[in-house]
């Protein structure tokens, strides 16, 4: 998304062009136009636009894309931390937003 941007230079998205077969799945599934197709291969056009949803990596047939996927949601992250603390473990489930 060009209109709204979060922090720069932080996402874990990795792309290995040597493994790309040019199927275009990443370009299709990405909701932020992070990839483009050029000369029969994917091109990482806007790395900082990535929100680490993991759609491209999951739909890549050759594992040319690697990303630590997850939801960019403060509550989910907070509950993840709290659930790692002995006593609070019973009160908080990790990844507990939107449920």
């Amino acid at each position: 998304m060009k209109e709204f941007r979060h922090l720069e230079n932080i996402v874990t998205l990795e792309y290995h062009p040597d493994k790309c077969v040019g199927c275009g799945a990443c370009t299709t599934v990405c909701p932020h136009g992070v990839f483009n197709q050029e000369n029969g291969k994917a091109l990482l056009a806007d790395r900082d636009g990535c929100m680490e949803c993991g759609a491209c990596a999951l739909n890549c047939p050759t594992r040319a894309i690697v990303v630590r996927s997850g939801v960019g949601c403060a509550q989910a992250i907070l509950y993840g931390w709290l659930s790692a603390i002995p006593f609070l473990r019973r009160l908080f489930v990790p990844d507990a937003c939107c449920s």
């Binding site: 932080i10 874990t12 136009g33 929100m51 960019g72 509550q75 992250i77 937003c97």
Partner: protein
């Protein structure tokens, strides 16, 4: 109209659990063996939206079990998955209902659905449709082709405020604890001996927290692009400080109380703006993790100082203002 009221209250969490639809194969219009098959989640608002956008068309709707959660979140949490779709295809006996072997998937299901693996699992191949349901008619008419404009998400003002309602629901328990904490602190103040003293001081403190909450949940999302910093917590700090200044100017009696209001309002606005990241379609896990580590200590320090200023002034009033 009843559906409208339902849509607003479901975002506020009222009757949220009744907004699930039984999974399975549904007919829209009078579909035949060649009609397209659309796959979707079992959140009622989503299914209502599809029915509205596709009115007058004949097609099949395969509703999968996502426990009443929308497509994108369900895909992120992997309940909207390749295996779930394959299971529903088999359970519905879809291969006997239609002659083609193609499923139209919502693009935002892609974090949970590997389209290339569907064929092996259930005999049907998956094609990703557009992000928004209102682009579906154009997508179907263009022989299942979606241009870049159908592939990217947007986040318009109305959408930003609609999802803010979800934050109100999410914060209700937290705000309840804050209310209790405010009155507990008021009890510790010099007014703690009288009911009126506690009520006045407690309500004042909670008012500041509430102003911070409203700033973080509604004002920051409304002016998301106008506030010139990237981190949501920082946006909240700026907007909350401005709101705090306003509060202090109107309600504050002396500088320690004004400073306390300013700091508390900024801290609460920052906290809630940070939580709004979960409602946006563009923040990443790494980005939110980074801003939380950076700004949660700032929020904590602000709250501690605000409480100290407030209590100190309440107890020693004039001597604080003269002594410092």
């Amino acid at each position: 109209m009843a559906d409208r009221i339902g849509a607003i209250s479901v975002r506020l969490g009222i009757g949220r659990d009744n907004y699930r639809i039984a999974p399975g194969l549904y007919a829209l219009g009078e579909p035949g063996a060649a009609s397209p098959v659309l796959v979707t989640c079992n959140f009622k608002l989503t299914v209502d939206l599809l029915r509205r956008e596709l009115a007058g068309r004949a097609l099949w709707l395969l509703v999968v079990e996502t426990y009443g959660i929308n497509v994108w979140c369900a895909a992120g949490k992997k309940s909207f998955s390749t295996e779930e779709i394959a299971g529903r295809v088999r359970a519905a006996g879809l291969e006997k209902v239609v002659t083609h072997r193609r499923l139209i998937l919502p693009q935002l299901a892609a974090p949970g659905v590997a389209a290339q693996k569907l064929r092996k699992l259930c005999g049907f191949s998956g094609v990703f449709g557009p992000v928004r349901a209102d682009d579906l008619p154009a997508f179907l008419d263009a022989d299942m082709h979606a241009g870049p404009e159908m592939r990217n998400v947007e986040f318009k003002l109305a959408e930003r405020l609609k999802v803010a309602l979800v934050e109100v629901h999410g914060a209700r328990k937290f705000m309840g604890w804050i209310l209790a904490a405010c009155f507990l602190l008021a009890l510790l103040g010099p007014g703690g001996f009288s009911f009126a003293g506690i009520a006045g001081a407690g309500a004042g403190a909670f008012g500041v927290a509430l102003a911070g909450f409203l700033t973080g949940v509604f004002i920051v999302p409304a002016f998301l692009r106008r506030i010139p910093v990237r981190a949501f917590a920082a946006k909240g700090l700026i907007a909350g400080a401005l709101m705090g200044l306003l509060l202090a100017a109107i309600l504050g009696r002396a500088w320690p109380e004004k400073t306390a209001a300013l700091m508390a309002c900024a801290a609460f606005a920052s906290w809630f703006a940070m939580h709004y990241t979960g409602s946006t379609p563009f923040t990443s896990l790494s980005g939110v993790d980074r801003e939380m580590r950076r700004y949660m200590p700032v929020q904590a320090v602000l709250i501690v100082f605000a409480t100290m200023f407030w209590l100190a002034w309440a107890w020693w009033g004039d001597s604080v203002t003269r002594g410092l």
